[in-house]
């Protein structure tokens, strides 16, 4: 296992896709902050409003700060797209280049290969997410202010967010193993996080319509999606209960994708 891990880490640090995604992610994060700050500056110049009016309590840009960008950098479709790209490229590389044959033929079990790949790419995703958070924090601090309230609660929030990123990663690992070919895995890796919440919302709507009971919760299913929960915990001062529920849901997704991945690779002829 140690040799497999060393082999996979070696590949990860040499993966161009990882660095390209990191650079694009950083550029997009900084661009997002710049656009927000520029909008604020425009309002200042046209409306004669000052930073205190806009960023103060009740202001349109109230609460914008490095801290806010820190806790919200993992939400949104950008991250799911980045994960789809670099995770599937990493996982599919051995299948498309045929190097998986050199691994399996030497007696390494398929399960060990799966876990080695998963551990390495998950650690890559964690580093990617942390860097995304840091870039968001630095850019937000430069454009607005550092903000306050960094405490144990924020650390726990960030750790739970990392669990969500691992869940996305494991979904893409599963797709990579199932397809083996980059095209299919990448396409589904991008589409599923976009379409799945919509289908779940439709299902919720259907329940309400069928029951004709408009008191039924409209988020009956959607409260269990990764997207809903990551949105919920991408704030400062997230209630402990929400964090706990989100952590359990993310962990269940990780376990689910891992189990499916192991089953898929066990049956896979390479």
């Amino acid at each position: 296992m140690r040799q497999l891990l060393a082999f996979e880490y070696r590949k990860l640090v040499r993966s161009k896709a990882l660095y390209i995604c990191l650079i694009v992610m950083a550029v997009l994060s900084v661009a997002g902050v710049i656009i927000t700050r520029s909008t604020m500056n425009m309002l200042n110049s046209f409306g004669g409003m000052y930073d205190d009016d806009l960023m103060g309590a009740g202001g349109f840009f109230s609460g914008y700060s490095g801290m806010r960008y820190l806790v919200s950098s993992c939400k949104g479709t950008n991250m799911t797209i980045f994960f789809a790209i670099f995770v599937t490229i990493f996982i599919c590389a051995d299948f498309t280049e045929g190097t998986i044959k050199n691994i399996v033929a030497r007696g390494f079990s398929r399960e060990k290969v799966f876990f080695a790949k998963s551990i390495v790419i998950c650690s890559g995703s964690v580093v990617f997410s942390i860097l995304s958070m840091l870039v968001g924090f630095i850019a937000g601090t430069i454009a607005f202010e550092a903000g306050s309230g960094f405490d144990g609660g924020v650390v726990v929030t960030l750790l739970v967010q990392l669990l969500a990123m691992i869940a996305y990663t494991m979904m893409n690992v599963l797709l990579g193993v199932l397809f083996g070919k980059l095209g299919g895995a990448l396409t589904l890796g991008i589409i599923i996080p976009l379409v799945y919440p919509l289908l779940i919302q439709l299902l919720d709507l259907l329940i309400v319509v069928l029951s004709k009971n408009y008191d039924v919760r409209s988020d009956f299913f959607s409260r269990f999606t990764v997207g809903t929960n990551i949105d919920k915990i991408s704030e400062l001062d997230v209630p402990g209960n929400d964090l706990l529920i989100a952590a359990v849901i993310f962990a269940v997704y990780i376990l689910f994708f891992t189990l499916l991945g192991v089953l898929a690779i066990r049956k896979k002829e390479v």
Binding site: E97, G98, N102, A105
Partner: protein
């Protein structure tokens, strides 16, 4: 029940190896026997099951039934097997150099990278420098694939169509490499190829497969002995020559092709044939003994199946 020593005689053995894809029987109860030091040529037409057998030997595909043994011990997917392989296209990182490719697999196999330079020299890739494997010619990629197969000093190397798409020089390079490793390092090879004449230059034992069924295993020497032989006599007057020779041997052993008289068997009479023809004023340009090659033997074996 076989004794332990009899079982261990074979470095690699398949017993009743079978593979089905849906309802199609791709490999049909194949029993192969490969001895240490063999260069075993697996021959058969496209879709005969050669690659599937090799993939199962390497645990890349799962047998529907039957087993594979190495030194009498059953191979499972996680066995500590010292097998190198080149199946279909070589498994290489195209964005790495030859050295980096081997370095990565040294890390995987847990071996020191001091082995890399000697192996690159063996396969003739020592001078490729910073050139990425993706820019290599097909022959160079094949040799890099073989270099990866050579890491960790495998006892047996399985090569599937290793000379496919190579130019004559590349084919010779691979052949020389196989013979060199077999002679100098005692590496056992299992090789499949469509180029039967090329294969015959290195193989010590053949396995002939058709529609997933192993028709025959035969040593190269035995194949040579069993092969049909013919005497080709190139003469100035083939018709008269054939009549003259027919006075010495049964006419059904003689036929004519162009300016040649072809004689089946009776090779010990070659000097007397020559004397007879010359005494009757016929010019004999050449007299050669030709034996049936592996290709003809294979075609005959396939013909017997029809």
């Amino acid at each position: 029940m076989k004794g332990a020593s009899e079982m261990d005689e074979f470095i690699l053995e398949t017993r009743q190896l079978t593979k089905k894809f849906g309802n199609k029987l791709a490999v049909d109860h194949v029993n192969m026997h490969i001895k240490k030091g063999d260069i075993y040529g697996l021959i058969g037409k496209n879709g005969a099951g050669k690659t599937t057998i090799m993939r199962m030997m390497l645990s890349l595909a799962f047998p529907t039934s039957g087993d594979i043994y190495m030194y009498g011990k059953k191979i499972t997917g996680t066995s500590d097997v010292r097998m190198g392989s080149l199946i279909e296209a070589p498994g290489i990182f195209k964005s790495y150099t030859a050295y980096e490719n081997l370095k990565s697999f040294c890390v995987l196999y847990g071996i020191k990278d001091t082995i890399i330079e000697p192996i690159l020299k063996i396969v003739g890739l020592a001078d490729t420098g910073k050139k990425k494997a993706g820019q290599f010619s097909l022959g160079m990629k094949q040799r890099l694939g073989i270099a990866i197969a050579l890491l960790a000093e495998p006892e047996i190397i399985i090569l599937d169509e290793p000379v496919n798409g190579l130019d004559p020089a590349g084919i010779k390079d691979v052949r020389d490499l196989v013979i060199k490793l077999n002679k100098e390092k005692g590496v056992t090879f299992v090789i499949s190829s469509h180029l039967l004449d090329e294969l015959s230059k290195m193989v010590t034992k053949y396995g002939i497969i058709n529609n997933g069924f192993l028709l025959e295993e035969i040593d190269a020497g035995e194949l040579e002995r069993r092969g049909r032989h013919q005497m080709l006599i190139t003469v100035s007057d083939p018709l008269r020559s054939a009549d003259l020779i027919a006075t010495m041997i049964p006419p059904q052993d003689i036929c004519i092709a162009g300016n040649q008289v072809i004689v089946n068997a009776h090779f010990e009479e070659s000097a007397r044939f020559n004397k007879l023809l010359v005494e009757n004023g016929i010019w004999v340009s050449s007299l050669e003994l030709k034996s049936e090659g592996v290709e003809q033997y294979y075609m005959n074996a396939m013909g017997d199946m029809r």
